[in-house]
Symmetry: C2
Subunit: 199 residues, 2 copies
């Protein structure tokens, strides 16, 4: 329980994670400051050290949170999609892109930063779960054509690269034609391109 004016906040770790996400969204990964996070949480600049080893420790925890929501974003798309394997894979790709566009700085923290400690157990577990989901979704598409339950490594990598490429380019505002569209049209076009590439 958060009590103003007292030494012990009761749940500072969670508050710092929220504040960290806000800082990330507001100032981006390159402007991220631990003191800024502490200020947002209404706490002294040295308080975070009791909950995270250092600034990279906080960023590591934030990346882990990101990977869990990343999977949820894909599942949300898949719930409203057709149930055939290809539609489900395309939906996962759209969820991948949704996440990148909704959380630009967090996405970069997860995929394009050396600051999170990838050896961290929490982060490794969260990222591994996302990777397992990818493998499962690809396997579902290919189990008809293949006798083995494990899909071809090449097909997994190819699928990942395609989804990731769109997500990362959208994240850095590089696909101008898509940026100019309304969301519904953009989704339709992305779905077409994913379907054509993944099939």
């Amino acid at each position: 329980m958060r009590r103003v004016g007292s030494y012990h906040h009761g749940d500072l770790r969670a508050v710092l994670l929220q504040a960290g996400e806000a800082e990330l969204a507001a100032r981006g990964i390159e402007g991220f400051s631990l003191r800024g996070v502490a200020k947002r949480a209404g706490v002294s600049h040295a308080a975070p050290a009791h909950h995270f080893r250092d600034v990279n420790g906080l960023l590591t925890a934030l990346a882990a949170v990101g990977f869990r929501r990343f999977v949820q974003s894909q599942e949300a798309r898949q719930k409203r999609a057709e149930t055939d394997a290809l539609s489900q894979l395309v939906a996962a790709g759209l969820g991948y892109i949704d996440f990148a566009m909704a959380n630009p700085a967090l996405f970069r923290l997860m995929f394009s930063s050396d600051r999170p400690d990838r050896e961290s157990e929490e982060l490794h577990a969260a990222a591994a779960a996302a990777h397992r989901k990818l493998i499962e979704d690809v396997a579902r598409l290919h189990e008809a054509h293949s006798s083995r339950s494990e899909p071809d490594q090449a097909e997994v990598m190819r699928t990942w690269a395609i989804a990731h490429g769109f997500a990362d380019l959208m994240n850095s505002k590089r696909l101008k034609p898509l940026l100019a569209m309304r969301k519904a049209d953009r989704d339709a076009m992305l779905a077409d391109m994913l379907r054509r590439s993944l099939d």
Copy 2:
């Protein structure tokens, strides 16, 4: 001409660009320090200000240098490839990936950082040249099937996303099966995946 021990170095701007690249390669974009660059160049910490507005100005110039070499990396691959349009496009993709793996920090600076000023004329021109090359290479593949000289926007974006996805994932060491291979095998597998995706 660089004269040691004298005030005027004669070509400090070029020296700073080299030093900046070294700093980038050594400490990564997140550890990049203007003072570190000045030290590498053997000059005081405030000297760079006379050649670049600020640290982001130096990073902007470095990104522009990067885009020019980025195109060269693709052309180098294309020279040693078959001349049919698809092989040429695949070769460009391999050059894209080559560059990312050879210049990890620079690649991130170019594609996944907010620090370079994208409104800068020099950077904009260099990035636009790379984009024009992409459009031409895609057009060459589709001019047989299409009457127009401008290729479909969707095909351009799709091609870009595929190459970029592989490059960015390789850059952040995420495609484990490929990382374990020797270069020749990796190239062959990447070429296969690109060919299958782009066709």
